[in-house]
């Protein structure tokens, strides 16, 4: 097993506020790593620094041993790192199918070849498979903005996997999804992890979801890692109970 992602002493401050304060961790190939922590603990800022949406104040990010700190999100994505956002991010006026094709089209050929080549960039079959996998086939030609919230959420996740990423960072995939859909989503994610061999990092507040999905969990509080381990270890850790889970 090799290390896909290495994060070393990552820091990000906004004026006097230190949102991420020297975070280090590794993610191994095919692992599903969960990141939990109270609101404002720096989870999303950490994602944004890893993914180039924000420039970190200090620290290093390595992908398969290659330094990628501060690289533009589009270049990082083409290296095989994809993500979803905390809030739903789809293209409402494109059809569901066009959303998926868009998510894959920039990964092949040159800009010029995309202009003179086929309108679907040769991705119709791949989009069809993805639609089937997330059970959205009946909605393929609808405008994405007309879908229900849960369906849009599935589309959002499906887009992140369209290009077969090596590493996927999912920011609260379960947020606002109803329990039935949630089980479906978890099962789909597990299946992708097994089939594509993708490595995942998942930010999540839904404890049941995150404990069932993840192999290992990292707990953040006030921008620092306060605990890590298997779901069972983390659940029993007094520091975690103090900072986040609370006593039941």
């Amino acid at each position: 097993m090799s290390t896909v992602l290495e994060v070393r002493d990552l820091r990000k401050s906004f004026g006097g506020i230190v949102a991420v304060d020297g975070v280090s961790f590794d993610v191994e190939e095919k692992e599903i790593l969960g990141i939990i922590g109270p609101n404002g603990s720096g989870k999303s800022t950490l994602f944004n620094c890893i993914l180039g949406q924000l420039q970190p104040s200090a620290g290093d990010v390595r992908l398969d041993g290659r330094a990628v700190t501060g690289m533009r999100p589009c270049d990082l994505n083409r290296l095989g790192v994809s993500r979803t956002f905390q809030l739903l991010q789809i293209f409402p006026h494109l059809t569901v199918r066009a959303n998926l094709i868009l998510a894959g089209q920039e990964h092949q050929g040159s800009m010029l070849s995309r202009l003179v080549g086929r309108p679907d960039a040769g991705l119709s079959a791949a989009a069809e498979r993805m639609l089937g996998f997330f059970r959205l086939e009946h909605l393929a030609d609808e405008e994405a903005g007309g879908l229900s919230y849960g369906q849009q959420k599935l589309l959002d996740v499906a887009m992140a996997f369209m290009a077969g990423p090596r590493l996927a960072l999912l920011d609260e995939p379960a947020g606002g999804v109803n329990p039935t859909m949630l089980a479906n989503l978890r099962e789909r994610l597990k299946a992708i992890n097994a089939k594509q061999g993708s490595t995942f990092v998942v930010i999540e507040h839904n404890m049941e979801f995150v404990m069932a999905l993840c192999d290992r969990i990292l707990v953040l509080a006030e921008g620092r890692v306060i605990a890590q381990g298997t779901p069972a270890e983390v659940r029993a850790d007094p520091k975690v109970i103090e900072a986040y889970l609370g006593r039941s």
Binding site: Q53, P73, N77, A103, H107, M111, L115
Partner: protein, 313 residues
Amino acid sequence: MSRRRSLLFGGLLALAGVFLLFAPLGLKPYGIFILSMWAVMTIAAIGLNLTLGYAGQISLAQAAFVGIGAYITAWLTTKGAWPFWPTYVLGFASCFVVGWVLGYPALRVQHHYLAFVTLAFNTLVYLIFRNEEWLTNGIYGISNVPRPSLFGYSLKGAKEFYYFCLANLVFVSAAAWWLIRSPWGRAFVAVRENPIRALSLGVDTRRYTLMAFAIGAGLGGISGALYAPLTQFIDPTPFALGLSLNLLLMVVLGGSGYFFGPFLGAIVAVLLPEWLRFAQGYYLMGYAVLVMVMMAFWPTGLLGLFDRVTRRI
């Protein structure tokens, strides 16, 4: 689109095509001139629709590009005695390059800030046309711009030049249709709707934004290259901010981001004022009220309205 809607749309399109082919036969030269102007302005509006309607980047500088294209063709075919086609290509290429450069501010600012950047650019270009007499002949303009011939066939007559403009419109439309259906068109819409998400999916939003500006400007240049031989006389006045606003009106009124929006918008902006002339002094006032009402009740433009109405059938 449902089958019935497609049929209705196709029928309307065929009717419009027949009208455009046969209209000159029943029109006086002035009518043919106005219809040619519609075709030329539609080309500029198609360009702006790519920049604004599809890629979501506001530009109030489209008139400047029409002007640059017009001056290049006018100057080179009169003083330079160049044949028409190289000036046509040069007009497109120059505007493409200048449009690319004008796109850089759009990487930093959006919406009304960008509107002011492009507005200032239009003013700058207008002032160059007006003040740099050594280059543009200033307010005296350039007259006797020749009309080209095609395969030895002269396009001097109003009717002949009209069909030439129409052919250009068909060519530009086909190219724009291709572009919009290609992955580029999808990327343009993605840049408009959610640039941050687009970036996270590997879409190089910088490059696509610049490209949207450059192509839109290039089509403005083509429009200008036809404008000069159509009017056969150009001076700085038509390329002031007013035309940029008018082109913006064409795009928004027709339906921003709809392929046929500019065609309809240009009917309202170019042809309708002529048809309202019977009202004499009041026609521009009536026109202004009409635009206000249309914008207030149909903000998605005429094609947005068509979309809503025909969704029921």
